[in-house]
Point group: C2
Chain length 197, copies 2
């Protein structure tokens, strides 16, 4: 039975974490991106399917291309952030099941290949993995700016050509400028969002 | 610029966290469920839309009903766990935008009500919130057993009747029995799961 993590860590991950709209130019090195992946990869997914795929956009060319495919309001954020991750769902993920679930890989592969199953499984679990990325980044001291305002088909063509990977959302990563943070919006109360049964 | 949270917290959230298959009977009190919601609610969603809704199934009747709608292998887990959360997507979430995004609530409401937009937004962001629930529960010292093997339509009828909420996945919460944990499955390497651009 574990104890809660320190209150300062709860603040950093949830209570005090905010989405910046402008970014310091401080670069993010390879080791940090690998450390981020090496945390988020452990988050649970259906039958360990881990359908999310990542493009870590860090070059000037990559940022310009991604920015050109984003809603106008999101372009300067992508250009300013040292790194923007594209989180995609690989609809061919069933092919990886023999590696990811050795005990019953072939069975799981066939199960996920039934009509319609891969799509919903990829969207559900790829989004879970996107959230693991956000929390893991905050755990490492990075700020996150997740966005879904972009041309999905254009991003797929530019960054996932020749694959069956479909972009889900994108997320700027780095050190946000505190003065670029908007006032915090309210949340639903416990009772508005649910009930006991 | 924040520092990483302590290594022991990274272990608890990601590196050492595992999915148990059997549960100690230790109950989970109201205060813990409220504390869990009061963390997960802060996780970022598109325009603060927070489309996830929760049923916290804790009564004997609720557990029996939910177990009866689950895949056979998942039934004993639901019956043994002190609490199982049903995470649903509220397709009527656009109606909440005036409260959740006061600065541009009516505009956001109309935007999310465009054909097809509410569905994909709810599934993406409701799943993000499901992952925030998992990580927040672990942060509070709880174990998680997320599952998608159940009759979605049956659960919607039993627990979300009269609403436009659609079940996404369910998650046992409590204190897992360590001996019920399976050997850990491998993950994709950094290179298998992505690339720099």
């Amino acid at each position: 039975m574990a104890n809660p993590i320190p209150a300062s860590a709860l603040d950093q991950l949830f209570r005090h974490a905010r989405t910046p709209n402008d970014w310091a130019p401080t670069p993010i090195d390879d080791a940090t991106v690998h450390a981020l992946y090496d945390l988020l990869k452990w988050g649970p997914t259906s039958a360990n399917s881990t359908p999310a795929r990542f493009v870590w956009v860090r070059s000037a060319e990559g940022k310009a291309q991604l920015a050109s495919l984003a809603m106008e309001a999101n372009r300067p954020k992508i250009l300013a952030a040292p790194l923007t991750a594209i989180i995609g769902n690989d609809l061919d993920f069933p092919e990886t099941m023999p590696k990811l679930f050795p005990a019953r890989g072939e069975m799981m592969k066939q199960m996920f290949k039934q009509p319609g199953v891969a799509e919903v499984t990829a969207m559900r679990n790829g989004s879970l993995q996107g959230a693991y990325l956000i929390i893991a980044a905050r755990a490492l001291g990075l700020d996150c700016g997740p966005m879904s305002g972009f041309d999905n088909a254009g991003v797929d063509k530019a960054f996932f050509a020749g694959t069956n990977i479909h972009s889900n959302f994108i997320c700027c990563l780095g050190h946000g400028k505190p003065e670029s943070i908007f006032p915090r919006n309210p949340r639903l109360t416990f009772e508005e969002a649910g009930r006991f049964a």
